[in-house]
Symmetry: C2
Subunit: 265 residues, 2 copies
């Protein structure tokens, strides 16, 4: 490869990559050690940017129109745009076979199922009212109004009213997320061994399944604040599993020193 891959990410005011989806790609690129540079894209620009680079929509909006989301990458070496973190991981594995595999071929089915299993085990309604308002607070002004409008429409209330700190609603949601995390933890301990940090165990490397879990909890950590009491409680759940996982992923969260561009579509 001669030119760095362009990685389109969503900026924050001070915590680097924060989105649980773009963080999957940040981790993926850093794990593989593939040269890349980041282009930061504010929310209102994502659809136009995606169309401009030729990245496919990843779903449908509530009104039935195509939904464009980040992460997306553009690889100038192959003149290919790819959206969706899982598709990006598979593209990178295939296109750069001499770098560490995110999804070894024989684990492809299990990893695809793992992605769905994780989403089903910790369902969005359990955490969105807590985490989305936190995420709003770490966004730049270029994304905040768009984020507020779309999320309040989807969640049906003002962000500040969803689950205010100290409310019974918030306490009940945390109790649910705690139960959800116990379900995920049970996968790690199904064989009675509680010492696995990574999904493949102590003696195998990090894979995309770990990326999914780490990106999710890193989002919690960044949205709540790493010094917050709420994050400290989560980091200690399940024998400290989630805190330890993020410690192991610290190095993969590094934002490239390369050019950082605010896109103006």
């Amino acid at each position: 490869m001669s030119e760095p891959i362009i990685f389109y990410d969503i900026p924050s005011i001070n915590v680097g990559t924060w989105s649980p989806y773009t963080l999957r790609t940040r981790y993926s690129l850093n794990i593989k050690g593939v040269p890349y540079r980041t282009v930061w894209v504010e929310y209102p620009d994502i659809a136009a940017l995606s169309k401009q680079i030729g990245a496919a929509p990843t779903g449908k909006s509530a009104d039935g129109t195509p939904l464009y989301t980040l992460p997306a990458i553009y690889d100038p070496n192959t003149k290919t745009a790819v959206s969706d973190s899982g598709k990006i991981a598979r593209y990178l594995d295939k296109t750069y076979p001499d770098t560490p595999k995110l999804i070894p071929a024989e684990l492809d089915v299990l990893t695809a199922a793992f992605e769905d299993a994780f989403s089903a085990a910790i369902p969005r309604p359990d955490y969105a009212p807590i985490i989305i308002p936190g995420a709003f607070n770490i966004l730049r002004p270029g994304s905040q109004p768009y984020f507020r409008q779309t999320r309040e429409a989807a969640l049906g209330a003002k962000l500040e009213d969803l689950a205010p700190p100290g409310s019974e609603t918030r306490a009940n949601l945390w109790a649910k997320v705690r139960k959800d995390a116990i379900k995920v933890n049970a996968w790690y301990e199904a064989d009675g061994n509680k010492d696995k940090t990574f999904v493949l165990g102590a003696h195998a490397g990090v894979t995309y399944a770990d990326v999914i879990v780490a990106a999710f909890f890193a989002w919690f950590k960044k949205s709540l604040g790493e010094d917050s009491q709420e994050w400290k409680v989560i980091a200690a759940w399940n024998g400290g599993r989630w805190g330890k996982l993020l410690d192991a992923f610290e190095k993969y969260g590094a934002v490239d020193a390369g050019e950082e561009v605010r896109l103006q579509v």
Copy 2:
């Protein structure tokens, strides 16, 4: 090992092992080639049998009391009773390490997640009204009244009224299950390769993840009848994936020639 493992299974009138859970253990034992003999246990006897051999409950009944289910095994070589198909698979892998591994150590987390992912992807309310009445029809008289009473209480209607053949309800449920199967199929084809029969792919062996999927669809096949039009339609879904999987599993469904005992608790 000197003595065969005792495998407690639920009998049918003419299709061998039919329960999607005991079938997992039948497949597991046959894949490993571990000597065993079957003891057939009718539904009303399951709880007493489980307590008698020392098999742990696998959940709670609606009234909060311990729920005992099959499969269970008793291994006279280690004097150990194990219930729950996943726990049995892990017990067999650990206790008989020289037989083919159902869950290679590095795949334990992914396999535990796969089990949850599969249950979440094809949820019980989508298929129970169709399949449960079919299952009733293949039970022996020793289990039918118990099965009818407990399932009608859980599903809230007479078995015959849940989704009668030809009804709009049945057609709508099939449409849901069809969508569910497409989700599971997407895991198999996430990397663009549509030719995998087994979860680990063409060049790796059968594992417990395959056992879960095969046991589920075999239950459909046996409850609907292998010559039924409904089963033929399912067998052809997703490029014939489910039909081909059951063909590959045919040999693992063999019922042991050993002693078959009707338990009298």
